[in-house]
Amino acid sequence: MVDIVFLVVLGVNITLNQRIEGYQMGISSLVNSIEGFKDTNAKAAEVTRKIALYKKVTSEQQDISGKTTFLIAHLPNDVLLREYVFENGAYTLTLEMNSPIKMAQLIANYFLNKNVKEIVISAASLDAYQSKYTIVFRVSFVK
């Protein structure tokens, strides 16, 4: 009886040993397989980081070309664009014209666009000799 119990216990031990050995080999094989994916893992991490940077940068970008097109396209023909500056999210235009009424019309035209948040005239001067008005103003958009 004791021998049978001993044999059973021995059999259980041998079975457990075999299963442990099997799992050890399986684990060793899996570890090798995962180590083989080392480059893939690094590439995936790099791609993830680049996508995050791409998303961050593009989400903060403004549609500068669209706004520039809008601002320049609305300029009357006889108004001369002396300087155009985009910086820190604001657009500054220096215009030369022979009548200040054109400026008023231009501002009215700009405000037809609901995205135009603010127009600030920072300087206006008159060249009496040439009868030319020079106006500097800054346009801010909602976003």
């Binding site: 001993f6 216990v9 995962i34 893992n41 500068i64 500056v85 985009f86």
Partner: protein, 183 residues
């Protein structure tokens, strides 16, 4: 004790081995029953614990392995997009490649390059100052065309000045490249 040994020798002498068998039986009973079975059960319990841990580890590694296979497969499927992403955010600043692409784009948009300079700003971006000449009327289209560049570019500043029928434009762009991991 002497009697015991004497009895054993006697049994041997007369050819009756039953006592010997009994003694061997008792010895094996104690040996296997107490030492063998007990320690065998203890070992079996310990081995079972180890096996349980190994099964958990194996399952975990199998999940990781299949996860890595999926990642590798996804990267392989998205290879063309990854190449475009690598071009948009290269490993190095690759200014020569950008300058070549930019010069072609500017030329096609009616602008020429007067001056080109770079300033390192952060660990993953570089500031580029470009002076251009060309008709300011073409500026909106040129800014639109900048989107055609393979690089991820942010327009930081645009300054166009018209003087004596000559228009000069200063562009300040931010280019991005792969972030250098902190050591």
């Amino acid at each position: 004790m002497k009697l015991f040994i004497k009895n054993i020798l006697f049994y041997f002498y007369v050819g009756d081995y039953s006592l010997i068998y009994f003694i061997i039986f008792m010895f094996s009973f104690v040996l296997f029953g107490f030492f063998g079975v007990r320690s065998g059960v203890i070992f079996a319990i310990e081995k079972n614990d180890v096996l349980t841990q190994l099964i958990a580890l194996n399952d975990d590694l199998q999940a990781k392995d299949s996860q890595m296979i999926t990642v590798a497969e996804t990267l392989r499927t998205a290879a063309q997009y990854v190449r475009r992403l690598d071009a948009a955010i290269p490993d190095k600043s690759s200014m020569e490649v950008f300058l070549a692409d930019f010069a072609v784009l500017a030329g096609n948009s009616g602008f020429g390059i007067q001056r080109f300079s770079t300033t390192q700003s952060t660990k993953d971006s570089v500031i580029v100052n470009i002076d251009l000449f060309g008709d300011s009327v073409l500026l909106p289209q040129f800014l639109t065309n900048l989107k055609q560049l393979n690089r991820l570019v942010t327009i930081t500043k645009v300054d166009t000045v018209q003087k004596d029928r000559i228009s000069t434009t200063r562009l300040v762009l931010t280019l991005y490249f792969k972030e250098i991991p902190e050591s």
